[in-house]
């Protein structure tokens, strides 16, 4: 019988952490129950909920309980652990929509223990591939599965492998792209840290399918734990004959190395990544030739994303047909998203393709934290776009997101509310792209800079009526003429905000008004004398002494000195500061 697990985590802020205490209590209660043998209590490092008190997650497939108190534990053991009934008053809404394929082991097994991975079917896929499948048959299975790349573009995995396999040559490479460049996303990190062997196994199977004997992990230097865990996994696999010469007694050889990224977003792009592994500046080059023909050191190379690899063993053990049964017509399987920003329960979620954005944000994420109105959801990072509230019922898949002017991307999903200004958000992403543009091609180097300058002008109240057309024109030129994906997609944040929130742009330009109060230069602060209790808090907290007066005559803001930092607005307890 499959063992069941209960993940336990005290999600209150640091200082009050009692995970250990509760886990001990729960384990003792279960020991004394009829379910003692069948259930194991596991302390979780990250359970995907925050500030929700004690959280219990029942695996596989069970509910999640929030804000569990010590007094609830008896009831939980009696009803849920033994009786298998869900306690509705404790259950988090919408947890039923999640489906764990990629994250099947994350938080369940000890990632540094190969035995635990093996106990959960680990390396069975590899052994099946090596002994029951020819490389072509492996590729055939992936064609059936419909698995597409999870790194952003959604290229069919089987096709990439097939193309790389078809190029003649004895020396070929597999690369795992673990550069996770989207700022605000951490799916790949969590997979590498939580289940490193699944990624490694996926990579070895890819090597077998392609006819490659060497693989590289390219991991961001910012992820020290992920690097350590993959390193350990490689060592363990080597000791067990899962890597090296004659893997598991077959005639297939495979070796793996780790390379660290050095802080350049563009190195997530495949040709730039290859240049970086070769020890050069990480600039992209025109394609074709594609890496499948001429990649690392000029040899045929297949680059896949971390999450793509983590799907590979599942496809092999459960079969392509099973996998293809999940998801939508053209997007199969599940997708892991890092839901963050203004959402109540931020964290990783894994859902079948085809679930709607609204279900992810509201049913699973619990809606907006502040209770304010949601404005938009951003997907795809600097290459993606915003999706406004009235499109949230769109089922998530590659094609739909693209139609909405965004992309699936690697899985970052940032919830924005009324306090987020769309001009400011566009400016944020463009600022990122200006810094990260490698400078090799002019459309991207100059285009991102020009877009940023116009956006800055608009947010400072210097916008001109022709600016919106200019933004669109520059964006188009960049899409058509840039060398790599960075430049081709860098304008998406501008185009999508402009497309859905043109009125906000116009307000900035014409009325010199920012409805989200984000664009400092458009704000003025003043003191509403009728509400002011003369408590002096604003006077004391103003960093530039722009507030004058005393308790007798009252306080006034000197507009010529005010730097519009908003400090007085923040500290006033009587809502006596007006912000317009």
């Amino acid at each position: 019988m499959d063992k069941k697990y209960i993940l336990v985590k005290d999600t209150r802020r640091a200082g009050s952490n009692q995970t250990e205490h509760f886990a001990g209590l729960l384990a003792a209660k279960i020991q004394a129950s009829p379910a003692a043998e069948a259930v194991q209590v596991v302390r979780a490092a990250d359970i995907g909920f925050y500030d929700q008190g004690l959280v219990l997650k029942f695996l596989p497939g069970g509910p999640v309980y929030l804000n569990v108190s010590e007094a609830d534990l008896d009831r939980v053991v009696r009803e849920t652990v033994v009786g298998g009934r869900v306690l509705e008053d404790l259950a988090a809404a919408g947890t039923a929509r999640q489906l764990r394929v990629v994250l099947r082991n994350c938080g369940v097994i000890n990632p540094e223990n190969l035995e635990e991975y093996i106990r959960r079917d680990g390396y069975r896929a590899l052994s099946r591939a090596l002994f029951e499948y020819t490389p072509d048959k492996v590729i055939e299975e992936f064609k059936k599965s419909g698995l597409r790349g999870r790194g952003g573009a959604g290229y069919p995995t089987w096709l990439k492998w097939h193309l790389t396999r078809s190029v003649p040559g004895a020396e070929k490479y597999v690369i795992c792209n673990a550069d996770e460049g989207d700022p605000g996303a951490y799916m790949d990190r969590s997979i590498l840290e939580g289940d490193p062997h699944s990624v490694l196994e996926g990579m070895i199977i890819a090597g077998y399918a392609i006819g490659a004997n060497h693989g590289y992990f390219y991991i961001r230097a910012e992820y020290p734990l992920a690097i350590e865990r993959i390193g350990k996994a490689i060592e363990q696999a080597r000791e067990r004959g899962l890597l090296g010469t004659g893997i598991l007694g077959s005639d297939f050889n495979f070796e793996v190395d780790i390379r660290l990224g050095a802080g350049a977003f563009v190195c997530g792009e495949e040709t730039a990544l290859i240049a970086s592994i070769e020890g050069k500046r990480g600039t992209p080059r025109p394609r074709p030739p594609y890496p499948s023909v001429s990649g690392l050191w000029g040899k045929p190379t297949s680059i896949n994303n971390v999450e793509t690899f983590a799907n590979v063993p599942v496809v092999m053990t459960r079969g392509g047909d099973w996998f293809a049964g999940i998801g939508t017509e053209k997007s199969k399987g599940t997708k892991v998203f890092a839901v963050t920003g203004k959402v109540k329960n931020s964290g990783l979620v894994e859902v079948p393709m085809g679930v709607t954005l609204r279900q992810i944000v509201f049913d699973i994420g619990g809606g907006v934290r502040s209770g304010k109105k949601i404005k938009a959801v951003q997907t795809g990072g600097p290459s993606g776009g915003v999706i406004p509230e009235d499109r949230l019922d769109t089922p998530v898949d590659y094609e739909n997101l693209q139609k909405l002017g965004s992309i699936m991307g690697s899985g970052g999903m940032i919830v924005m509310d009324e306090d987020d200004c769309m001009v400011d958000i566009a400016k944020f992403y463009l600022g990122f792209c200006v810094e990260e543009s490698c400078g090799k091609c002019a459309p991207c180097r100059i285009g991102t800079y020009q877009l940023l300058k116009i956006l800055e002008r608009i947010s400072e109240g210097e916008g001109r009526s022709e600016d919106l057309d200019r933004l669109r024109l520059i964006a188009q030129a960049m899409q058509k003429a840039s060398l790599c994906g960075l430049g081709q997609t860098a304008s998406n944040p501008v185009l999508s905000t402009l497309n859905y929130f043109e009125t906000e742009y116009r307000e900035h330009i014409q009325a010199k008004r920012c409805r989200s109060f984000k664009c400092r230069d458009l704000l003025t602060y003043s003191i509403i004398q009728s509400k002011c209790k003369r408590c002096r808090q604003c006077f004391l907290n103003c960093p530039v002494q722009a507030i004058s007066g005393d308790r007798e005559v009252g306080f006034y803001i000197q507009l010529d000195k005010c730097i519009k930092c908003g400090k007085c607005f923040e500290v006033c307890k009587f809502n006596a500061i007006a912000r317009e």
């Binding site: 925050y50 605000g184 910012e222 050095a262 350049a264 970086s276 020890g279």
Partner: protein, 171 residues
């Protein structure tokens, strides 16, 4: 000197000669592997806390690459620094999740409290301030990292308390 590795970005406790000797060993370790330049530079930065010119000269000589090629690679990657950093490196995340949850305000507070701009080091060489893009802790934004420690849900008003912990600690 063994805990040097742990403090990573920080102190330059080694004198240069000893550091260069260590670097020579690292070069030996990697030189036969293809694409060795970047791993060697990363090792050098671990050793010195930054990349002094003497180290770059040594690497270019040992690998038989021109100095300009080595310097070109160094300048491309933001991870590499050619100026010494302070004892503690404060990095503020300005990834998207942190940005929408007030990362910029945290950065402003730190700039004010430390009296330095991004990329600078305080006069007492205690702190350097840098901006980063996502530590993968977005669920608990805004996030800053001081040396190897991640601080989550940082409030601008509280940054001084965080800094104080490092002011008193001798690393």
């Amino acid at each position: 000197m063994t805990d040097k590795k742990k403090s990573g970005c920080c102190e330059v406790a080694l004198d240069e000669a000893a550091g260069l000797e260590q670097l020579r060993n690292a070069v030996e370790l990697y030189r036969r592997k293809p694409g060795a330049l970047i791993p060697i530079l990363q090792a050098a930065q671990e050793i010195f806390g930054y990349l002094p010119e003497s180290a770059l000269r040594l690497i270019s000589g040992e690998l038989g690459k021109s100095y300009s090629e080595v310097a070109g690679v160094v300048s491309f990657y933001s991870f590499f620094s050619t100026t010494p950093r302070g004892k503690h490196l404060v990095r503020v995340c300005l990834g998207t999740a942190c940005y929408v949850r007030g990362g910029k305000e945290v950065l402003d507070a730190l700039r004010q409290k430390l009296g330095i701009e991004v990329g600078e080091t305080t006069a007492d060489r205690n702190f350097s301030l840098e901006v980063a893009r996502c530590f993968g802790a977005c669920g608990l934004a805004p996030v800053i990292m001081v040396d190897e420690d991640v601080h989550q849900r940082v409030k601008p008003r509280k940054v001084n308390e965080i800094l104080d912990r490092y002011r008193t600690r001798q690393s």
